[in-house]
């Protein structure tokens, strides 16, 4: 089962002939993802690593019916590429691109909502259902199939957490990156709902950070969950008013502090780790 993507997912890579696109296409193939197509305007008919390239998402849809798309398109063209994927009828669009203007992101989300498309990102490391399918830029070696769901805002920090889980023998059902931008396609709540409903997931790890109120909103849902939730949050030492790398990681006008998030999650019944390597123990002490 896992969530959103599984061993049946047919993947198209948009921007497949670029440096990033072609490298990660080969990495995803190596992991075992079913990459059925790539797109690159004007390069239809070519192949990358044996995968057929089409001019656009419409042509790919006509020929090989992908379910999910992953975008390696520079920020200036990302909105158009996302629109193209949504319009072509692709169900899930993963946007790796960072620095997409926030107005473009809002337009993408509005169109996705109207068409019923799931958008992951922008500025995400992607999504992986270990042993089944990887759509993203994460290292292939650190994941272990299992039953802990992981949802994170940040890439390398979630690798750190997953690495700790895997070394402790705790496998993962699906690991999802929401992305570090101001307007992400999915929120913690939407992922928590899916993990709660997924029979292959028995617990959830939430990796959050300062800025916005996504963790506080997630806490409201955690109150209603049966599966245990362990959280780790970054940014305790961040000064207010400074963007800590991610566009969304900023304490503005007293909002988005770590203390507020830890309090909300703890009160909702989640266990909050103060250090990343405490997560596995909190999880095993907590497993149903």
């Amino acid at each position: 089962m896992a969530i959103i993507i599984n061993d049946k997912t047919r993947v198209v890579v948009q921007g497949a002939t670029g440096k990033q696109g072609s490298f990660h296409l080969s990495q995803m193939l190596a992991y075992g993802s079913k990459v059925v197509a790539g797109t690159s305007n004007g390069k239809g008919g070519q192949t990358v690593e044996g995968v057929p390239i089409f001019d656009n998402a419409f042509a790919a849809m006509d020929a090989v019916q992908p379910d999910a798309s992953i975008l390696f398109i520079p920020a200036k063209g990302a909105k158009d590429a996302a629109f193209e994927a949504i319009e072509a009828g692709i169900e899930t669009v993963v946007i790796i691109t960072e620095h997409i203007p926030v107005h473009d992101a809002m337009e993408i989300m509005a169109m996705a909502k109207a068409k019923g498309t799931t958008v992951i990102g922008p500025n995400t490391f992607g999504i992986i259902s270990p042993g089944k399918c990887k759509m993203g830029i994460m290292p292939n070696s650190i994941f272990l199939p299992g039953s802990a769901g992981v949802v994170a805002r940040s890439g390398t920090l979630s690798y750190e957490i997953v690495y700790n889980l895997t070394n402790s023998g705790i496998g993962q059902s699906t690991v999802v990156g929401l992305g570090g931008d101001r307007v992400p396609g999915l929120s913690f709540i939407e992922l928590l709902q899916q993990f709660e409903a997924d029979p292959e997931t028995d617990s959830v790890v939430l990796v959050g950070e300062i800025g916005g109120s996504a963790e506080e909103e997630a806490a409201e849902f955690i109150k209603t969950m049966k599966k245990p939730v362990v959280a780790y949050l970054a940014g305790k030492s961040a000064p207010p008013g400074k963007r800590m790398g991610h566009a969304g990681a900023i304490i503005e006008r007293g909002k988005g502090t770590l203390e507020g998030k830890v309090k909300a999650l703890t009160e909702a019944g989640a266990k909050v780790a103060s250090l990343p390597w405490e997560v596995p123990a909190l999880l095993t002490g907590n497993r149903v």
């Binding site: 200036k76 926030v102 809002m106 830029i137 400074k242």
Partner: protein, 369 residues
């Protein structure tokens, strides 16, 4: 990118939103000159922060002499961490009522949101929820005039004032969209007789959209010299006040590295996300930026994914050989090509650790003794 009040007002005026008559000056003499033209005036320090009034950054004058004195007392002072080098000399206006009006980005609904209140003038955070009027805006529809008129009604305006307010709302939204703004705020929006004016304003432009709106908006620079240098290399770097320089790859893990360092009693000198997939050259330049801030030690936390450990190690080895590294350096290195990386570092006499815990304990021991 935050804009100064006078820059925000330039954009308001450009979009047909009325603002008080004013002049931007840099000296007491110019302030007097401006006041002669304008009459009784408000002398407002121009800094990229709110709460200027309370901090003494806003003064009033009835004569050119008073304007000069006010400017003299403000210019060159440190207000909320900013040295004031510019003041706005602005016509004093009669205030009948103060409203609040802003449009910003709502993360929850992934849409623009209009927030307003019939009770303006104070910080919006201090207003109770029931005194706010909010509309989530469908980005495909924008603000239509019926919505603007309804809002004017809910702000208890009627007749000509309601029409003016509705017009301002439509124009403010147009400005938000066309200039890729994350925030446009008028506080207070002042009713002065039969006219409505933007008496103060804040605008934040999306940094990620400067490639397309950069030429049509005023610019400001809040970053330190090192921060600008890092940004030019595509590295996000924030200067902090501690003594241990930090480098990591990825925003989240960099924040976590700072937190862990503080947890063990260390004090970070900066936030530096050298980026995922940074190559040898970029990593070497990043290290040079850290060294130029003269820290007591450097802590590096690399979880190699697309970033290759051997590339990072080569960069450090290169810097060590070319210019020398005169402060202790503690490195945590795991992930892609880890063994090659560790070996390269050993060859130049740099030890590395496999867990962040060990690395942090070590660096704190070196610095704090």
């Amino acid at each position: 990118m935050k804009l100064f009040e006078f820059q925000a007002k330039q954009l308001f005026a450009q979009y047909g939103i009325a603002v008080p008559k004013g002049k931007v000056v840099n000296s007491p003499e110019e302030a007097a000159e401006a006041a002669r033209e304008i009459g009784p005036a408000v002398i407002k320090s121009q800094i990229l922060s709110g709460g200027r009034g309370k901090a003494g950054g806003i003064k009033f004058s009835d004569t050119p002499q008073e304007a000069a004195d006010a400017a003299r007392s403000i210019l060159g002072t440190d207000l909320k961490g900013f040295i004031v080098d510019t003041v706005l000399v602005e016509q004093k206006i009669k205030i009948d009522r103060e409203l609040y009006l802003a449009i910003t980005i709502d993360k929850g609904t992934r849409s623009p949101i209009l927030i307003s209140s019939a009770f303006g003038g104070m910080e919006i955070e201090d207003l109770p929820e029931e005194k706010l009027v909010k509309y989530t805006i469908d980005i495909n529809l924008g603000i239509r005039s019926y919505l603007a008129r309804d809002l004017a009604r809910r702000l208890n305006l009627s007749g000509g004032l309601a029409e003016q307010a509705a017009d301002i709302i439509v124009k403010l939204y147009k400005l938000l969209r066309e200039k890729d703004a994350e925030l446009v705020e008028i506080n207070p929006l002042v009713i002065s007789g039969d006219q409505i004016l933007a008496a103060d304003g804040k605008i934040t432009i999306d940094d990620d959209a400067l490639f397309r709106v950069g030429d049509s908006v005023p610019h400001t620079e809040e970053r330190t010299e090192l921060e600008q240098k890092a940004a030019a290399l595509g590295i996000s770097y924030v200067q902090l006040d501690g003594n241990i320089a930090i480098m990591a790859n990825g925003a989240g893990i960099t924040m976590a590295t700072l937190d862990i360092l503080k947890h063990y009693g260390g004090s970070p000198a900066n936030f530096m996300d050298a980026g995922g997939g940074a190559g040898v050259e970029a990593t070497a330049k990043a290290l040079e930026i850290l060294l130029s801030a003269k820290p007591k030690a450097i802590l590096v936390n690399i979880f190699g994914g697309i970033t290759r450990c051997d590339d990072v190690a080569k960069a450090f080895s290169m810097v060590k050989k070319s210019r020398g590294i005169d402060v202790p350096m503690v490195i945590r290195l795991v992930g892609t090509n880890q063994d090659e990386g560790v070996k390269i570092l050993e060859e130049v006499g740099i030890n590395s650790y496999r867990t962040i815990q060990e690395a942090v304990e070590k660096v704190v021991e070196i610095v704090n003794g």
